[in-house]
Each structure stands twice: as structure tokens, then as C-alpha cells.
């Protein structure tokens, strides 16, 4: 990908995230995409399943903000370091809302083919986020 193509894709994602627009985000993926999403329950396959994961996040965290810190790309691969902040205002993983806030740095690693995201991995302190939003309780063992 050219730097312009990378920047264009990152800008489209940023605009969609700022509107919590699951359909616009979903449309950037290939129909048979594979996405590793800890918060989405593991690996999801297909554009519709991925879009549903976004829809679930946005319902759980309606004030979600994703701020890009760094973008590194080579060939068809892009790594995006971001900061996410939000509040568990909608309830997550089938549980009632806790009203607790979270903040973390995470990485989106994705592969783009023919202008569409075919593979994405979301890596971050997922267990730490569950503790922050009050879904898990952690104590020294």
C-alpha cells in the first residue's frame, strides 16, 4: 500500500469510530475476513460477524473514543497503536452496566488486500480492561 492509501484507510476508520458507525467500519472488511477479537469472544469470521462485534462494543461503551498514537505499515500490513477510553454504560458480555471507566493502549494489526481488510488482530490488556470495567475482579493469589 502507498502511504496515501494507508492514511486514507486509517482516516476512514477514525471517522467511523468517532461516529460509532459499525456499518461503516464493517464495510472496510472483506466478506470472508478473519478477526481476532478478545472482547468479541475470540476469532470471528466474516464481515457480518465482525460488524456485529463492533455493534456490541458501541452499545456497551457509547462514549468510546479511539485515539491513534502511531501507525506503521509495510506492504499489505498495518500496525496501529491507539489509546481507547470509555465507560461501561450499556453493559458488557451480557451483564448489567457497571458505569466504570476504562483506558488502555492497544494494537490493531491488519492485513489489507484489494483495498479491504482481510485479517485483523486486536492485542491489548484485555483482562486488565475487564477488571477496569468491573466485569472481573482480580486479587493477589
Amino acid at each position: 500500500m502507498t502511504p496515501e492509501e494507508v492514511n486514507g484507510l486509517i482516516a476512514k476508520r477514525a471517522a467511523a469510530f468517532s461516529r460509532l458507525d459499525a456499518a461503516a467500519l464493517g464495510a472496510l472488511y472483506a466478506e470472508n475476513c478473519v478477526v481476532d477479537t478478545p472482547a468479541g469472544g475470540g476469532t470471528v469470521t466474516g464481515r457480518d460477524a465482525n460488524e456485529n462485534v463492533y455493534r456490541g462494543f458501541f452499545a456497551a461503551f457509547p462514549d468510546l473514543k479511539i485515539e491513534t498514537q502511531q501507525v506503521v505499515s509495510e506492504g499489505s500490513h498495518i500496525a496501529q497503536l491507539y489509546t481507547a477510553v470509555g465507560t461501561n454504560a450499556g453493559g458488557f458480555m451480557g451483564l448489567p452496566p457497571t458505569g466504570k471507566r476504562f483506558r488502555f493502549n492497544g494494537a490493531f494489526i491488519f492485513t489489507v488486500e484489494n483495498g479491504q481488510i482481510t485479517r485483523e488482530r486486536r492485542i491489548y490488556d484485555f483482562t486488565g480492561v475487564l477488571v477496569q470495567i468491573g466485569v472481573l475482579k482480580a486479587r493477589p493469589q
Binding site: V72, H77, A79, D125, V135, L136
Partner: protein, 157 residues
């Protein structure tokens, strides 16, 4: 410092690194990780580097702090296995997509060894300057790792 490490410093380029130079740097770093050689790894950092490390509780500043934290990590997990799946090189920025695994044989975070293993995907973002790592940010499920090795116990609220 060993003779090998002296050479390591002497051959360091002073300006922007080529792609081949960056690949060589990370090949050498992999060998140093395989040998649990914290001293050799620390030579790749700028003296005033900044490293964001969940294990160290936030931010490490300076080559010496980075080396001390890494030495402690290697002592905790002497069977540490670090596998790089892909290296993205983009000018002076490098991203290392990897898997880290190991066993708490030496005791972690000041606790007695628990003998339990962890395995997590991890992403490291590097910014290079004059052939040295000026900034590094490490992203992985650190809390999940603490649960896996038994430092933390997690349960649904």
C-alpha cells in the same frame, strides 16, 4: 563487557538504518533473547530511551533501567521463548508481532516461584534513532499473563 559486545557498539551506524541493517539488528536481538542476555539487548537502546512496559508498572527511562527490568524478567522466566511472527519496517519505525511464553521458575514480581506457564501474543512498537532504540512500547494482555502465572486470581464480579 565482552569483546563481542564491544564490536556490537563499534559497528553501529550513525544515521538512518537501512532495511537490511534493521533486520540484522532484530536477528541479533533474537539471538540475545534466546541467550537471556540482558546486557547485549540493552546496548541497542539510546542512553535516554523511553520504554513503556506493563511489567515495570509503566515507563522505564534510560538504558540502565531497561536492562535491570529485562534482567529481572529473564530471572523470573528462564525458559522464556520469544517468537517473532512478523516484523514491519517503516522508515525508523519497527513493529514486532510476536508470541511470548515462559514458566515462572524464578519467582515473578517479588513472589515465590509458582511453576506456572504463560503464553500471550505481544506487539512491540519501536522508534529508532541513529541505529538505537529511542522509544519502545509493549502491548499485550499483561493482566491475563498475571492470571496465567498465578500472581493474580480473577473471578467474575
Amino acid at each position: 563487557m565482552s569483546d563481542q559486545n564491544r564490536e556490537h557498539v563499534a559497528t553501529r551506524p550513525t544515521s538512518a538504518m537501512s532495511r537490511a541493517g534493521i533486520e540484522a539488528l532484530f536477528t541479533r536481538r533474537q539471538e540475545a533473547i534466546d541467550n537471556l542476555d540482558a546486557a547485549a539487548l540493552s546496548l541497542d537502546y539510546a542512553e535516554h530511551c523511553v520504554v513503556e512496559s506493563p511489567v515495570a508498572g509503566g515507563i522505564l527511562t534510560g538504558r540502565d533501567q531497561v536492562e535491570r527490568a529485562r534482567r529481572a524478567f529473564f530471572e523470573s522466566f528462564p525458559d522464556l521463548k520469544f517468537t517473532t511472527e512478523r516484523l514491519l519496517i517503516d522508515g525508523n519505525q519497527v513493529v514486532q508481532i510476536s508470541t511470548m511464553e515462559g514458566t515462572d521458575i524464578g519467582g515473578f514480581m517479588g513472589l515465590e516461584p509458582k511453576g506456572r506457564s504463560f503464553k500471550v501474543p505481544a506487539v512491540f512498537f519501536y522508534e529508532l534513532r541513529d541505529g538505537l532504540i529511542a522509544r519502545e512500547r509493549r502491548i499485550y494482555d499483561f493482566t491475563g499473563m498475571l492470571v496465567q502465572v498465578g500472581v493474580l486470581k480473577a473471578k467474575p464480579v
